[in-house]
């Protein structure tokens, strides 16, 4: 699988592949939204505001997942020093940032009608905000540090530090008492979400993951082209 992300593979990537992915994504997300907004039932307590979950939960998953990849790439980068590897993380960061923001905003929109408040400083919400700041830092370093080696070094350190925040986010609802509810979907036990609500959740997750893949492939290809261009000029 990793081989598919080697530079020569990406550089020879055809635009038609991306176009096909876009069509698949539109189909899946439309299906997911139709299911989420019209065919899935309202919740017995929350009513229709449960539908926010179909964007909120996949966004949160993806934002955590992408930073996990960025963190692991940062470790590989500092140890193995493979030239193109940081470009993968650099291309993923803005996507993760957007999804973290989406997760926080949709969560806030859900919190007001459910909890009675837009924002609280409990462990889950605060650690998620810290993730957003880590994404900001990571992106800023690449933007404002012009020396490539330096930017590469600093961003990797930020990536590794941010990695330590991920278990805190994941387990915050179990370790401490928080306003945010514990996870409904866990690896160890049956989900506490009714199946009519899990199906649209999974469809939306797949759709948004394909979106992530598309934006990543486009950004990563551009980054590789820039790298190649620099080498040619030298």
């Amino acid at each position: 699988m990793f081989k598919n992300f080697l530079p020569y593979k990406i550089l020879t990537l055809k635009n038609s592949l991306i176009k096909n992915l876009v069509i698949i994504m539109i189909l899946i997300i439309s299906l997911g939204l139709l299911y989420a907004l019209f065919f899935s039932p309202p919740d017995y307590i929350q009513g229709d505001s449960v539908r926010i979950m179909y964007v909120h939960v996949p966004s949160s998953f993806i934002s955590l997942g992408l930073f996990a990849i960025i963190g692991m790439i940062s470790i590989l980068n500092l140890t193995l020093k493979i030239k193109f590897i940081p470009l993968i993380a650099k291309s993923l960061a803005p996507i993760g940032f957007i999804f973290t923001l989406t997760s926080i905003v949709t969560g806030s929109l859900w919190g007001k009608p459910t909890w009675g408040i837009w924002w609280v400083w409990d462990a889950r919400l605060t650690s998620m905000l810290i993730l957003l700041l880590f994404y900001c830092l990571y992106i800023f370093v690449w933007k404002f540090v012009h020396n490539y080696e330096k930017a590469n070094m600093i961003s990797s350190i930020i990536g590794i530090l941010g990695l330590l925040n991920l278990p805190v986010i994941k387990y915050s609802v179990d370790w401490w008492s928080t306003l945010h509810q514990p996870s409904s979907i866990t690896l160890t036990s049956a989900p506490t979400i009714h199946y009519t609500m899990i199906i649209p959740l999974i469809i939306m997750f797949i759709g948004l993951s394909i979106f992530t893949l598309i934006v990543f492939l486009m950004r990563y290809k551009i980054e590789l082209m820039k790298l190649k261009l620099k080498k040619n000029i030298k």
């Binding site: 919740d43 140890t79 909890w115 609280v120 409904s184 009714h194």
Partner: protein, 142 residues
Amino acid sequence: MLGKKAKPRIAFLIITLLILSLIIFLILKSLEENVVYFFSPTEIYNKPNISLDKKIRVGGLVKEKSLSKEGVSIKFIITDLKNEIIVSYKGLLPNLFSEGKGVIVQGKLKDKKYFIADTILAKHDENYMPPEVSEALKRTNN
């Protein structure tokens, strides 16, 4: 596959990561009082010296049949099924507030059994289901 230079770098990184996780663990441990968003009635009960002037949050379930309203002043009991605290509050309740459901109240303790709230937040649990399923569950439980 690993170059000669890579091995010490990996060792260094692993040690740094371990130390950093330890530091974060210790920081969070020492801040536990602040990281915890609310206390349960039992935790309040077991606290030896509790300040009555400081704003705190207490969370638990609204005890069934404990809610009473007189105009805008509301009284109910928060329970964690071991200990209970009476809460008095003036104002609007969140929509999802109901007996038997989770709640977090913010305000000050008058004593260990009596709480004056200025904010009430409804806590949602991890269960999501359509109304029909909830009805069916209720019927089988009764």
